[in-house]
């Protein structure tokens, strides 16, 4: 048994070091005095003040947050419908295609989805004169790939709890709609909420699809980060990374608390 414990300790120690050492170094070097990201020049918070005075970066962040909010909400509603249909609908014509449509965006290479969505919007612009590329098109693109993630979380949650609760409500005379609102929805609300959070962070982070469907006017946070990072390492990006890791950790803990809470 000692051998097994040592094996687990070594494996997990190595694995977590691999996952976290690079991030930890990025975070530490956000407090570096030197402009060179790889040379330690003493402790300083000057890059923190620089980032929070960086108007362009803050504007991009605000745009990203608004897009993430809208796209996550749309993805949560459609993903809830998709997950519910997958878990509860008996066989219906086109179920195979339906399942594929819901799951495929999860693994589809983003460059493929990016170019296809852009061509759709270009076509729509030619035929209907809109929508203008920018906020709306980015939000639609993000919602489309986030639906899969929400649907899977919702489906898993529905598979986990007892269908007889819903059956009981219906036996007692509740309409399907009332049953859904008073029995099903409260039970799967944590899954929907954590799906929303996941969709929110996915949207906040997306670069590739955004770059395709964003117009000339809109620049999201990842687009700014990308154009800055392409030129090499930049201490302000280290600061941003630190903020993102801390916020993500809080979001994940909150989401874990949501899904693990007893119903």
């Amino acid at each position: 048994m000692i051998g097994r414990a040592r094996f687990a300790f070594t494996v997990l120690g190595f694995g977590y070091a691999f996952l976290y050492l690079p991030l930890a170094l990025v975070m530490i070097y956000s407090f570096n005095e030197s402009r060179l990201v790889t040379v330690w020049g003493g402790f300083s918070t000057k890059w923190w003040s620089a980032l929070f005075a960086n108007e362009a970066m803050l504007q991009a962040a605000w745009l990203s947050i608004r897009i993430a909010f809208v796209s996550a909400t749309v993805a949560a509603i459609i993903g809830l419908a998709a997950g519910y249909a997958l878990a509860r609908a008996p066989r219906f014509p086109g179920r195979g295609l339906f399942g594929s449509l819901v799951i495929a965006p999860m693994v589809m290479p983003e460059v493929v989805m990016g170019i296809s969505m852009l061509l759709l919007f270009v076509g729509a612009e030619r035929m209907f004169g809109g929508p203008e590329r920018g906020f709306l098109t980015i939000a639609i693109a993000h919602a489309t790939f986030s639906i899969a993630f929400v649907a899977i979380v919702v489906q898993a949650r529905l598979a986990d709890f007892d269908h007889s609760l819903e059956e009981a409500a219906m036996d007692l005379g509740a309409t399907p709609w009332v049953t859904f609102l008073t029995v099903t929805l409260p039970l799967i609300a944590p899954a929907v909420a954590s799906g929303w959070l996941l969709a929110f962070t996915l949207s906040l982070d997306d670069l590739i699809m955004t770059q395709f469907v964003a117009g000339a006017q809109s620049q999201t946070l990842p687009m700014r980060v990308y154009s800055s990072v392409r030129l090499g390492v930049d201490p302000q990006i280290n600061v941003l990374a630190t903020v993102i890791v801390v916020v993500a950790a809080c979001a994940l803990i909150f989401s874990g608390w949501l899904t693990r809470r007893k119903v």
């Binding site: 790889t38 339906f98 589809m108 270009v122 639906i147 709890f161 993500a248």
Partner: protein
């Protein structure tokens, strides 16, 4: 229920399925740099033949497949022991251990790739460490090579490997292993004949979750690979944004889709079979 099914069906039909028809239409057209958008519609296979005859593009296809395959294998070799160790940890510790695997996925993908730029640079932290410790006086630069790309892919996609593996390993009935041990099987034999075959669905799901996106990866080869590592996702990007050759970029997208259709279908079958509803299990 009809509306519940119709809503996602319509949305995904319009925004996911329909666009592929447009991509195909554009791929069959020809490049017209002077018009907006820069395409002449038509039926021609010029872009496709170019993709499969030009050495540069052929090399990009092969490199992408090779890098994705080796990265997937390395991620499996690294992720399997991790998933196994988490699944065998005390139940009260598992949520925390699992959360630590998931957390990087919730942070920014771009930032995680960026983290390696400062590490792998010529005067980066890794080389500083190698020089300081005397392991190598004159280490080469990893940034800008295929090694950096593979490392980046393993790093970025490792959570996708660990999670499905953990899901199957956690459900594994330990009494099977005890029975094997009682009957005299050595741990290695028990692992090879019981644990490994039973965890195969997780292995397949994890490998597909890493392999499929890795083939079309753009950010990692762009930031870590430099000019010498040509992957097909980067080709698509450059043809589209730098050369404004929409038909060629669309042709790459169609080929990528055809190439990945089989693994994607396999992944869907796995997902559909996935966790059976609880009520069926109880009966």
């Amino acid at each position: 229920m009809r509306y519940v099914i119709a809503l996602p069906f319509l949305w995904l039909g319009i925004f996911f399925l329909l666009p592929f028809a447009l991509v195909l239409a554009i791929a069959l057209g020809t490049n017209a740099p002077d018009s907006v958008p820069p395409v002449d519609l038509g039926i021609g296979l010029k872009s496709f033949t170019l993709l499969f005859t030009d050495d540069l593009y052929l090399a990009a296809w092969l490199t992408s497949l090779r890098i994705a395959a080796t990265s997937t294998l390395v991620a499996l070799l690294l992720g399997y022991p991790m998933a196994y160790a988490i699944a065998r940890a005390a139940p009260r510790r598992r949520p925390l251990l699992l959360m630590l695997v998931v957390l990087p996925f919730w942070t920014s993908f771009l930032i995680r790739v960026y983290a390696w730029m400062g590490l792998l640079d010529e005067n980066g932290l890794l080389n500083q460490f190698l020089r300081w410790s005397g392991i190598a006086a004159n280490p080469g630069t990893i940034l800008g090579t295929e090694w950096a790309v593979q490392l980046g892919i393993v790093y970025a996609y490792l959570p996708f490997m660990v999670l499905p593996l953990y899901a199957v390993l956690e459900k594994l009935d330990v009494s099977l292993l005890e029975a094997a041990a009682d009957l005299g099987a050595r741990p290695i034999a028990a692992f090879l004949t019981i644990t490994l075959p039973l965890s195969l669905p997780g292995v397949v799901a994890g490998c597909l979750l890493v392999f499929i996106p890795a083939v079309g990866e753009f950010v990692i080869p762009d930031l870590l690979g430099g000019t010498e590592t040509l992957m097909i996702g980067k080709v698509l990007w450059d043809e589209f944004f730098t050369n404004a050759d929409w038909p060629l970029a669309s042709a790459v997208a169609i080929c990528l889709l055809v190439l990945l259709a089989a693994p994607i279908a396999l992944f869907q079958r796995q997902q559909a079979r996935g966790p059976e509803p609880a009520r069926e299990r109880r009966r």
